[in-house]
Amino acid sequence: MTAMLNIKDLRAYYGQVQALHGLSFSLNEGSLTTLLGANGAGKTTTLRAICNMVRSTGAIEFEGKPIGNRSTENVVRLGIAHVPQGRGTFTNMTVEENLQLGAITRGDKKNIVADIERMYDHFPVLKQRYTQQAGTLSGGEQQMLAVARALMLRPRLMLLDEPSFGLAPLVVRDLFRIFSKINREDKVTILVVEQNAQLALELADHAYVIETGRIVMSGNAKDVANNEDVRKSYLGY
């Protein structure tokens, strides 16, 4: 397998404060990778740095091309969909408009209608609510909408920032099942940042652990799950 995303010596800053201290990792094409870490470790910052939403230095390569200097919208246009923390739903627009916005950069207008139908297959609840204002959806429904919106880009790589945040455990399970389905069937490489380490490690095939802006462990998800330190710190047993 070849590395789809390659990150070397990534350093990110919020004003004077440095949040990432030389992070290096890579994602294999077709993989489902999780990035674990405590609050404030730099997980969200890593995702934001990939999409150039925070000032950073270091090398970020996507499919062999350096993307560190591209603007956010131009990174997205390469096929990198980012589901941000807090979901970024366009709350005053309808569900269907949110989905159309996900495909706004695509030229193949004909396929967009079919793709919206596909999203309704993945998430039937969205179909029932397609004329509703997105802000009236429940938290879980909004998360589904955010994922569906990201998929409308037909991304090659999807970045998910704490998709389980604030959701009921059952909803989270459903959502993660859909992630692995998307990963397998649509061949979308996925990088998911999670605090729910147990669930993330169950589904991912690769894992990185990040602490205060540095990668401290990496490997096969099962091996990481069996590591004693990880068990104690993140899995709680």
Binding site: S71, E73, V76, A81, P84, G88, M93, L101, I104, T105
Partner: protein, 292 residues
């Protein structure tokens, strides 16, 4: 009763212009969170351009269309050259930018075309509309063009992809960038459209207020009043606000003793203050809630 109907209809006609100005103001406010104090001067300059074209012998509607296109381009240029560099600057820097733009456009227009009052033609004529004494054909034309413009804008924002992208960029810039929208160009496009709408308003009102560099001063204040009344976050509200202010202005001038023509302008200002005190979000605006 006839006086009342006459004043209401005349109010609707001028209200159409206020609605256009309010819409232009709201479009830029939505895009960059600032009120464009120079909106009226930009409209005045556009109107002068169309007048100049007509002086050179260009037929009215050709001059009209050319002016709208040039104003659109001009609006984009102003954003690119002046306000894009100020995007991250503090509010007061932007306010200074708007005031500078106001002063520059006003004096340049005075320099080129001087400050004497000029007649401006109407393509609709000024005879009574449909034989009725209530409203003139020009007033009816103002309302007609405005309604067409509003319908076109509604279609644009509701049913085209670029309109959807502009709405997305205005409501949540960060999310918009994450679906690949170039928000910076959406702002420029908003400026272009606001400038073009202002130009239409200017050309429609010029036969009424006559053409001169300060012609839009009062109109813009009514435009602000309309935008505030309808809610700065609501384009539809701005339009309805425009018509309401137009009617209110005329009725107050007619029926409230002592107001008359001289005190019409303070009424607009009083309206702005009243709305800001009683209902800051306006009639149709969403209240802005900030997490602290």
């Amino acid at each position: 009763m006839e006086l009342f109907a006459n004043q209401v209809l005349a109010g609707i006609a001028t209200g159409a212009i206020y609605a256009c100005m309010a819409l232009a103001v709201v479009m830029i406010y939505q895009a960059i969170d600032h009120l464009n104090f120079a909106q009226g001067e930009m409209a005045m300059f556009s109107t002068f351009m169309s007048w100049q074209m007509m002086q050179w012998g260009v037929p009215y509607w050709w001059a009209f269309i050319l002016t709208v296109i040039l104003s659109f381009i001009g609006g984009i240029l102003i954003e690119r050259l002046l306000f894009k560099p100020l995007a991250k600057a503090p509010v007061l820097t932007n306010v200074a930018g708007f005031i500078a733009l106001f002063a520059i456009v006003n004096s340049v227009a005075g320099l080129i075309w001087d400050f004497t009052i000029k007649q401006y033609p109407t393509p609709f004529g000024s005879s009574p509309f449909l034989g009725s004494q209530l409203i003139s054909t020009h007033q009816a034309g103002m309302v007609g063009v405005t309604v067409l413009l509003l319908a076109g804008l509604y279609f644009f924002f509701q049913f085209t992809r670029i309109g959807l992208a502009m709405r997305a960029a205005a409501s949540l810039p960060e999310s918009a960038r994450l679906v690949g929208i170039n928000t910076s160009w959406m702002i420029a496009l908003g400026w272009g459209m606001a400038s073009a709408i202002g130009a239409i308003a200017g050309m429609l009102i010029a036969p009424v207020v006559f053409l001169e560099p300060n012609m839009m001063g009062g109109v813009l204040i009514y435009g602000f009043a309309s935008a505030v009344l309808g809610g700065l976050s609501s384009p539809l509200g701005a339009v309805i606000g425009g018509f309401l202010v137009g009617v209110f202005e005329n009725l107050a001038g007619t029926y409230i003793p002592g107001v008359g023509n001289e005190l019409k302008l303070p009424i607009a200002l009083a309206l702005i203050i009243t709305v800001l005190v009683v209902k800051p979000a306006g009639l149709f605006g969403r209240p802005i809630v900030k997490r602290v």
